[in-house]
Every structure is written in structure tokens, then in C-alpha cells.
Symmetry: C2
Subunit: 199 residues, 2 copies
């Protein structure tokens, strides 16, 4: 391929895989994962489509891997300074979560509303959501809290997600008001959940 720069040919398999995923991750900043194709990733990186298919046998495999990479990126951003006090840690995590949605709204909406059509995507979604719940429980010092608390934390995450996605359609209220509201909601609900669902 004349479009393949010499440097591109020397990457080891892990580095190549990361490079392809990075290109896919860039694409979902502006469109849903379902519009990521081997063709475009190949063009973006300057390699042959065949090489992309060597790493990801189908477009769907590539898309699932990109969604998985995005989920890993989200979890890494949510894992804020563990030395912060619980309330600030929750606030910093909320800020990181909302920023993440803001950088890829079309893709985030697509993930939230279409993973159910593919078992592999649904698995990534469920694993990620469970990991976000763990991070939040850890932030508030409640690892291993009662099952009812886990349910409520999942509910709060869904509320944040839905509110932010809906808010992004026109941003009718200031961002800091929305985030302040969502954090107060957590600060009210979590203690209530602890009392309500105490084992």
C-alpha cells in the first residue's frame, strides 16, 4: 500500500491494535459507534482494510472493541483521587462522567439505547455499569453495602445519564446548576437508601 508509511509497518501487534482502537475512539467523538468501519479506520491510520480485519474480523468486532476501549477510558477518568473526602470524590467523579458524555453525545446515546441489540455490547455495558457502581460505593466508603444501595446507585447513574443526554439537546439550564442538582440528589438519596435498605 503506497499510503502506508514505513513507521506504520514496524508496529508490533499490541501497538497496532491500540493504534486502530485509538482511531476508532476518535471517530466516536463525533458519531455513534455503529458508524465506525474497518474501511475508515484503515484510511485514518494509513493501513490496508485487510490489516484492520486481521485484528477485528468484522466491523461489528471492531465496533465492540471501540466501545470496550471507550468504557475503559470512562472508568479510568472516573477513578479520581482516592484521597479526596467522599463528597468531593463523588463531585469530581460526576464532573468526569458528565464531561465524558459531553465529548461523545451521539455515541453515548447510541450505546445507552442500542447495546441491547447485541449480546457482546450488552456485556460491555453491564460490566461497565457494575464497575461504575463499585467506584461510587468505594468513593463513599460503602463497598459491600446492602444490595438495595447498589440498586439505588445504579438508578442515580441512569438519572445522571438521562438528564445530561436530555440537557445536551439545547442546554436550557446552566451546566453547574444541573450538576449541583444531581450531586444534591445523590447526597439525599444515598443516606436514605442506607437507612431504607439496611440489612
Amino acid at each position: 500500500m503506497t499510503s502506508t508509511a514505513p513507521l506504520n509497518r514496524r508496529l508490533d501487534p499490541d501497538a497496532r491494535r491500540r493504534q486502530l482502537l485509538e482511531a476508532g475512539f476518535q471517530m466516536i467523538q463525533t458519531r455513534p459507534f455503529s458508524q465506525v468501519t474497518a474501511d475508515e479506520v484503515a484510511r485514518a491510520v494509513g493501513v490496508s482494510k485487510g490489516l484492520v480485519f486481521h485484528y477485528f474480523p468484522t466491523n461489528r468486532d471492531l465496533q465492540v472493541a471501540v466501545v470496550r476501549a471507550a468504557a475503559a477510558e470512562l472508568l479510568s477518568r472516573l477513578n479520581v483521587d482516592p484521597d479526596l473526602p467522599p463528597e468531593q470524590r463523588l463531585g469530581a467523579g460526576l464532573e468526569a462522567f458528565v464531561s465524558f458524555i459531553e465529548t461523545q453525545p451521539a455515541n453515548y446515546l447510541a450505546v445507552a439505547r442500542s447495546v441491547g441489540s447485541d449480546p457482546a455490547l450488552m456485556e460491555v455495558f453491564e460490566e461497565t455499569r457494575a464497575a461504575v457502581v463499585d467506584l461510587i460505593l468505594s468513593a463513599i466508603g460503602m463497598e459491600g453495602g446492602p444490595p438495595g444501595l447498589r440498586i439505588v446507585v445504579r438508578g442515580w447513574i441512569a438519572m445522571v445519564e438521562e438528564s445530561v443526554l436530555h440537557w445536551l439537546e439545547g442546554m436550557p439550564v446552566p451546566r453547574d446548576q444541573l450538576l449541583g442538582f444531581l450531586q444534591r440528589a445523590a447526597a439525599t438519596m444515598l443516606p436514605d437508601a442506607l437507612v431504607t435498605f439496611a440489612r
Copy 2:
């Protein structure tokens, strides 16, 4: 068709369409909408598959119509006695919403997590969610409230949905505790939202 009973042949088009949708609605009590097929609806009702395709040209058309019928059913159940005071009306609506999810958990999860893969389904979902928001705002006497309140109500609906779907996996806490918690969350958040997002 020998399987077509005489009565079945005399239905007018509207009644026939309703009958086919009713059969599809029965099916989604036990499985996701994506598993409703013209073949099975035809068998359930005792008509030819060709007749079902006459009303719904593709399986996907049939599935979208079934999801639309389910959404209409949900809205009708949520529209509880308007003479109740706001808090009781919200409580009765919450009870109706949760019961609805409980009667068709696999389908509800499929709708919530896969409508994004089909524009027609996404449209039904968005219309329904907007209508549920309107019902809630009307129940609490806040039609035409500030846009921030609309966002928060959507967020609360997403929280209810996610909590209940997660709770259904094993029901680790009593149902009435979960519903009580969700109603208190609304009772705390809605006044906060009104103050936060007052125009």
C-alpha cells in the same frame, strides 16, 4: 386456510389489526419485541401469515406496531385518577409504571436498551417518554414548568426504570421499600428542581 375459523374471516380491518396487535402484545409479556414474528402472530390468531403481512409488511413493522401498542397501554395505565391529590397521584402512577415493567421485564429491557438501533422505535420511545413527563408534570400541577424541571423528571423516570429492572434480577429488597424510596426521591428532588431551575 383450514385453520381460519369463520368468525376470524368476518373481522373488519380495524378489528383485525387490533386482534393481531393484541396477539403481539401477549407475546411481549414473556419475550422481547424483537422475537415477535408474523409467523407466530398468524398461528396465535389462526390466520395466514400473508394476512399478517397485509397489515404489517415486515416483521419489523409488526414489532414497531406492537411496541407502539404497548406504549399506549402504559400511558393509559399511568393516567390515574386526576382527582387524587398530587402525592397520591404520583404514588399511584409509580405503582402502575412498576407493575407494567414487572409484567414484561424482558421486553421492557429490550425496549430501553435497543430502540436506538431503529429510528422508528426510537421515535416511539421518545414520544412515550415525553408523554410520561407530561403526565407527571400534570400530576404535580406543574404543566409548563421550567425546562430544568422537565430534565429532572426525565431523570427520575430513568432512575425508576433502571432501579426496577435491576431489582427484578433477584428482588433483593422488598418491593414496597423500593417503591417508597423512589417516591421519596421524587418528593425531595422535584421541589429542589423547582427552586434550582426557576426561570
